[in-house]
Symmetry: C2
Subunit: 208 residues, 2 copies
C-alpha cells in the first residue's frame, strides 16, 4: 500500500503550486526564478523538476486553474440559446481579455498552447481538451438549432473557429491591431466569413 508517500507528494506539489501562484502573480513569470520558487516552496530545486519538466510547464499548471475559473465564469454569463455567432464572440473575447491581460503572460501561454514543446504537450493538451469541449457544447446545440451544418465533423468546426481566434490573437501580438475594438471588429468579420463562406455562390441565397 502506498499512503504516506502519496500524501507527501500531493503536499509537496501543492507547496510548489502555491509558491508559483504567489510569485507569478506578484512578480510575473519572467521575474521569478526557479531557485526562488524552490526556496519559497521550501523544497530543493531538483524536487521541482521531479514534478514538472520545465519552468513553462509550471506556468501551464498555474494557468489551468485560472482557465477553469474563466471558463466557468463565461459559462455562467453566456446565454445557451443566443445566436451562435454571439456566443462564440463572447467566448473568444472573454478568452482574449484574459490571455492578454498581461502581454508576456499571454504570449508564453499562447506559444505553449499552439506550438507546444515535446515536454509540455501533455499539459498543453489537457487545457486544449477543456477548451474544445466547451466549444463543442456550444456547437452541438447550434447544430440542433439548425444554425450549423450537420454534415461536418464537430472537431473540424471547432478547429475552424478556434483557428480564427488564434489568428486574431496572433495579429494582436504582431501589433497589427492595437485596440480591443479592432480585435472585436476583426473577429466579427472572420466569424461571419466562416458562416457565410468565401465562395460567391455560397452567398447567393442571402439575396433571395
Amino acid at each position: 500500500m502506498s499512503g504516506l508517500r502519496e500524501t507527501k507528494k500531493r503536499k509537496t506539489r501543492q507547496a510548489i503550486m502555491d509558491a508559483a501562484i504567489k510569485l507569478f502573480s506578484e512578480k510575473g513569470f519572467k521575474n521569478t526564478s526557479v531557485d526562488e520558487l524552490a526556496k519559497t516552496a521550501g523544497v530543493g530545486k531538483s524536487t521541482i523538476y521531479g514534478y514538472f519538466h520545465t519552468k513553462n510547464e509550471i506556468f501551464l499548471a498555474f494557468c489551468e486553474d485560472q482557465i477553469d475559473f474563466v471558463f466557468s465564469d463565461l459559462a455562467k454569463k453566456r446565454d445557451p440559446d443566443a445566436p451562435l455567432k454571439e456566443q462564440l464572440f463572447t467566448l473568444f473575447m472573454g478568452q482574449f481579455r484574459y490571455v492578454t491581460k498581461n502581454y508576456d503572460f499571454g504570449r508564453i501561454l499562447s506559444r505553449e498552447m499552439v506550438f507546444p514543446k515535446e515536454l509540455t504537450i501533455e499539459k498543453s493538451n489537457d487545457i486544449s481538451e477543456r477548451y474544445l469541449s466547451a466549444l463543442g457544447e456550444i456547437l452541438t446545440r447550434a447544430i440542433s438549432r439548425n444554425e450549423l451544418r450537420d454534415d461536418l465533423e464537430l472537431l473540424y468546426i471547432s478547429g475552424h473557429f478556434y483557428a480564427l481566434y488564434i489568428i486574431v490573437l496572433s495579429a494582436w501580438y504582431e501589433r497589427r491591431f492595437q485596440s480591443e475594438q479592432e480585435i472585436e471588429q476583426a473577429l466579427q468579420k472572420l466569424l461571419s466569413q466562416a458562416m457565410e463562406g468565401l465562395s460567391p455562390s455560397s452567398r447567393k441565397q442571402d439575396m433571395v
Copy 2:
C-alpha cells in the same frame, strides 16, 4: 561621407550570417551557442548583439533566405489558373513540408512568426508580409475569376485561410496528426468549409 564603416558593417554582418548558416545547418539551432557563432564568425559576442537583438532573431534572418527560396520554388510550380483551393493547398503544403522538415526548427519559427516577442516583431513581420503578398496575389486572381466573393477585404480573406493553415500546423505540433496524409486531409476539409461556409443555408444552393 561614410564609406569604410558601411563596408565593414556589411562584411561583419555577412560573416555572422555565414556562420549562422553553417552552424545551424550543421548542428541545429539549439545546439549552436552564441559563443560558438561568434567564434566561427571571427567576432566578439557582443558584436553579434549589435547586429541582432536575440538569438532567435538571428534564426529568423537565417530563415528569411530559405523562405524566399521556397516561395520562388512554389511560385514556379503553381499553376496560376488552377482552382483556388488547389493553389492554396499546394502553397500551404509546400510551406508545411518546409517548416516541419526539422521539428524544432519549425516550432521556433512558427512561434516567432505567430506570437513574436517585442524584439523580433520587425523581422517577423517582414517575413509575414512576404507571405501575405504571395497569398494576396493568388486571391486577387481568384476574385477576378469569380471564385471568391468580391465584397470582402483581401486582408481578411488572407487571414482566414492563413488561420486554417496555422491551426493545422498547430495540430501537428500537438501531435493530433502524425502523418502528412492526415494533414492533407484536414487542410482539404477546412478549406472546403471556408469556401462553402458553415451555416446550413449557405450550402443550400449546392443542392439546387
